[in-house]
Amino acid sequence: MTLDWPLEIHRVLSQAHVRLVGYVPDAGHKRLIELCHADHAMRAVTLTTEEDGIGLATGGWLAGERSVLLMQSSGVGNIINALGTVRECRIPLPMIVTMRGEHGEFNPWQVPMGQATPAVLEAMGVVVHPVREADQLGAAVDAALRLAFNSYAAVAVLLSQRIIGIKSFQEQAGQ
């Protein structure tokens, strides 16, 4: 039995009235991105770089809208300076980060950023929630959304490669 965790994350986002979904695609987020695009109450925005998702979320929050940012761990390296704005302005920013370079990685180029991801986020004042079990994801995202929007915080749920389960280039390309 496999838990439909993307559906569960979508349900939690929807329940929390998240309306703006910025993302740079990742294989691990494929189904969640599709669910967000199909949801007429959400606006899913493809970004050219993860950093732009922080601008999008900041503008959205200034105008009263709740956002989430979806990305892969390599994208965390692209958002560091922009996280300074989030902290200075206390913008609520939930992020769901699919991990690479971590559990059974097949691409050595992914390992440095993947391994540095929690430390980089923490250095910029982001609350980090690592999740390694699919059945804990819904609750973790729900808690992250509450913390972000109730406390005006940046919160990252790190979704382990163990949950995504892609083990080779061939497998990723076949998605």
Partner: protein, 196 residues
């Protein structure tokens, strides 16, 4: 070469009788220009986040489709976030205008030349990215029509306004990011913003 526009005059002309316009003022000189035109709770001046001004405008525009949104930023700031023009071109928010006050210089760091001093045409980039209108303004006569477009014309609209490269006095907005955010949200959403 003809007499170049003065950046403060440009900002003042574009922000005249601004009504309910929502404004993002990009890092550096453009934030000071907008402050010189009159500090306003519905202007969000950036003290950081270089390259993010246009995306913040997109966030505002998508969240408030009934309001007109203006991003005023500099050429250096815009060049750091060129990908945002592609994203805006794809999202096509009719209520968004992006105006680059283009002095062809990095004004806060020693007036080094930007790529626009070497022929990079930001209006052409915006047009290629799918902006509905994109133009380069070089004369005072272009400012009143641009101001009208910002308030009325279905966009996304883009304009690069060429201005003189000159150092002018700093006119600084408040620095506290949390304050700037809170005053913007209150002015736009009312007291309810504090309960969100």
């Amino acid at each position: 070469m003809s007499v170049k526009l003065n950046r403060r005059d440009v900002a003042a002309a574009l922000l005249a009788d601004r009504g309910t316009l929502l404004v993002i003022a990009g890092l550096g000189s453009t934030a000071w220009d907008c402050t010189a035109a009159g500090d306003h709770p519905l202007t969000f001046p950036l003290w950081g986040a270089m390259g993010q001004a246009a995306m913040m405008g997109l966030g505002l525009a998508l969240a408030q489709p009934e309001r007109r949104v203006l991003v005023i930023t500099g050429d250096g700031e815009m060049l750091m976030g060129l990908g945002s023009l592609a994203t805006i071109g794809v999202q096509k928010p009719e209520n968004l205008s992006v105006v680059v006050i283009d002095n062809e210089r990095y004004g806060e760091t020693g007036m080094q030349q930007t790529h626009t001093a070497h022929g990079v045409d930001l209006a052409a980039v915006a047009r290629a990215c799918g902006f509905t209108h994109a133009e380069t303004v070089t004369a005072t006569q272009g400012l009143a029509p641009l101001r009208r477009a910002i308030h009325e014309r279905p966009g996304p609209n883009f304009a690069a306004v060429k201005v003189a490269a000159e150092k002018i006095p700093l006119v600084l907005p408040p620095r506290d990011g949390a304050l700037l955010k809170a005053r913007f949200r209150r002015a736009l959403l009312g007291e309810a913003a504090d309960q969100q």
